[in-house]
């Protein structure tokens, strides 16, 4: 199966600033690919190159097997996009806004009802967009991106402005989308939790470079297990863990101990608990900490930061 999106050493300069630095990413078909990075890391510039809005200084962007620089229009036919700036006309209704794009795409009028139903906006479609909340605009933007059922959806910060219920709905919606429609979703975000709960694959961009990429479950499995200890005396617990040669640090009032790769977390928890009690440190709670994307993210970005400092 060929990837839905591929970039090869994609690079973009703005004057002397290197915004995207040799990014080679692969988004498999029917994946929900979380493109993660802090603000200014190069996410939007990369997405704009995928959409043909910016020309790469070097490298290639390929969408659905089509080189974007060689045939922008053919590549654009395979993509629906939700950009950070929605670009809706406030004087027109939601339905009228969708109709403008539908006509430009040469789609039948029934497409509007279909996408409105998907995002549950049918009831509000007759109102002017000027009166919409940010969350409604976001959903309308998603509906517009889905006009014509493109095989690839590129979504820039899709949960921006949504309330907690809206965020949860959007997560479910995006997670289920490949299964329901066969679409591939590339979504950018600076929110770790959002990517972790939505994506099947992840790519981390840092200072313009793709520093991590892969299937989320495989990446998580590669992270060393950690034990979190909540004790009455965190300092004493920390000192004891370190005295036993363990890598430990205090995070949010808990002592977090990183185990060596392959070390059994249950056995290590029991041993550490016994040692703490024998040393007279009262343990409130102890147990394995979930292998999170955050840990992975911190790990790779810390390495990159060290490289930059060197």
């Amino acid at each position: 199966m060929s990837p839905a999106i591929e970039t090869h050493v994609l690079t973009r300069r703005f004057g002397r600033m290197l915004a995207v630095d040799g990014v080679s990413m692969t988004v498999p078909e029917q994946a929900v690919y979380g493109f993660l990075g802090r603000n200014g890391a190069g996410k939007t510039t990369t997405l704009k190159m995928l959409l043909g809005l910016l020309k790469p200084s070097a490298g290639r962007a390929v969408v659905g097997g089509i080189d974007v620089a060689a045939d922008r229009i053919a590549a654009a036919r395979k993509v629906g996009a939700l950009l950070e700036a929605h670009g809706f006309y406030a004087n027109l209704s939601g339905r009228e806004n969708l109709d403008l794009t539908r006509r430009l795409l040469g789609l039948p009028a029934s497409e509007i009802d279909r996408v409105l139903a998907v995002v549950e906006m049918t009831g509000d479609a007759g109102r002017r967009v000027g009166g919409y909340s940010l969350g409604m605009r976001q959903r309308l933007g998603l509906a517009r991106a889905m006009l014509g059922a493109p095989p690839v959806l590129i979504l820039d910060e899709p949960t921006n402005g949504l309330d907690p219920d809206g965020i949860a709905d959007m997560r479910h919606f995006l997670r289920d989308l490949p299964g329901r429609t066969g679409a591939t979703v590339l979504l950018s975000s600076h929110l770790l939790g959002e990517i972790e709960q939505t994506a099947s694959h992840v790519g981390v961009i840092h200072a313009g470079r793709l520093v991590l990429e892969g299937e989320l479950t495989a990446l998580r499995a590669g992270v060393a297990a950690r034990i979190a200890v909540r004790a009455t005396d965190a300092k004493a617990a920390l000192a004891l863990a370190r005295s036993k040669g363990l890598q430990a640090a205090v995070e949010h009032g808990e002592v977090v101990v990183a185990l060596a790769p392959g070390e059994a977390v249950e056995r290590a928890s029991v041993d550490l608990n016994r040692a703490l009690i024998q040393a007279g440190v009262d343990v409130i709670a102890i147990g394995p900490r979930a292998r999170s994307l955050e840990g992975l993210y911190r790990q790779v970005t810390a390495v990159e930061a060290q490289k930059e400092a060197a």
Binding site: K48, A85, G87, L104
Partner: protein
């Protein structure tokens, strides 16, 4: 080409640009109406039409084009919709060409509205004050030819204003260009070199010297078409960051 054009026209629905298109010739009509009511003796239709066309070409046309192009461009700049439009599988030049056709169509409608509204308000003024009723007959062919020439001579200023308005997301460059151009057109009305100033080309259609109106018409129309083509090429290739 028809889909982008339809889309541009649909965007005008309930917009300020459409209101402006009605307001500009309407203001001339209001001026003519009250002017007619204060007249002690009737004037010929030809004079009223020439007066209206003069006001239109001299001031209202360049100022309306300035405001209209800025408003139409701001329909995209305001909600930042360029990225959405430019990412669609549509040749970009068509999107800009549709905008240009839309502006040209609105200015054509405004040009046609000027004599039509003048006729209507003078008929109304005649009912209120019969002595103010214009004399003679309206030579509609001559009126249409004059306003048509003004329209064609205005193509260059329309193209310049539209290009500036689409190129810059801020209102300021487009307004500064339009106000500056109209200002120099007004203060240097009788200057011979005014024939080369895009904002003065339409009013030169009232010139009695043939070389003057012919030069302004050729430059305005030919230059306008050339600048419009250059605009399409430039804007289609330009990146928006």
């Amino acid at each position: 080409m028809f889909a982008p054009l339809y889309v541009e026209i649909a965007k005008l629905n309930r917009s300020l640009a459409l209101a402006l298109a009605g307001l500009a010739p309407g203001l001339i009509a209001v001026f003519v109406f009250f002017n007619a009511l204060r007249m002690r003796q009737a004037l010929p239709w030809e004079m009223w039409m020439m007066q209206g066309a003069g006001v239109w070409a001299f001031f209202m046309l360049p100022m309306s084009v300035t405001a209209l192009t800025a408003l139409i461009a701001h329909m995209e700049h305001g909600p930042k919709s360029w990225d959405h439009l430019r990412a669609l599988p549509v040749p970009r030049w068509r999107i800009y060409a549709a905008k240009a056709f839309c502006v040209l169509g609105l200015v054509a409608i405004m040009s046609a509205a000027v004599p039509t509204l003048i006729w209507a308000v003078l008929e109304a003024a005649t009912v209120i004050k019969p002595a103010a009723g214009p004399t003679g007959m309206i030579d509609w062919a001559e009126v249409a030819a004059l306003l048509g020439r003004m329209y064609l001579a205005a193509l260059l200023l329309i193209a310049i204003q539209l290009w500036v308005a689409l190129r810059f997301s801020s209102f300021v460059p487009a307004l500064a260009t339009g106000i500056g151009g109209t200002f120099f057109a007004v203060v240097a009305t009788s200057a011979k070199k005014g024939v080369f100033l895009p904002w003065q080309m339409p009013v030169n259609m009232l010139a009695t010297e043939a070389w003057r109106w012919q030069t302004a018409l050729a430059l305005g129309c030919g230059g306008g078409l050339l600048v419009l083509m250059l605009m399409l090429i430039s804007l289609s290739r330009r990146e928006t960051t």
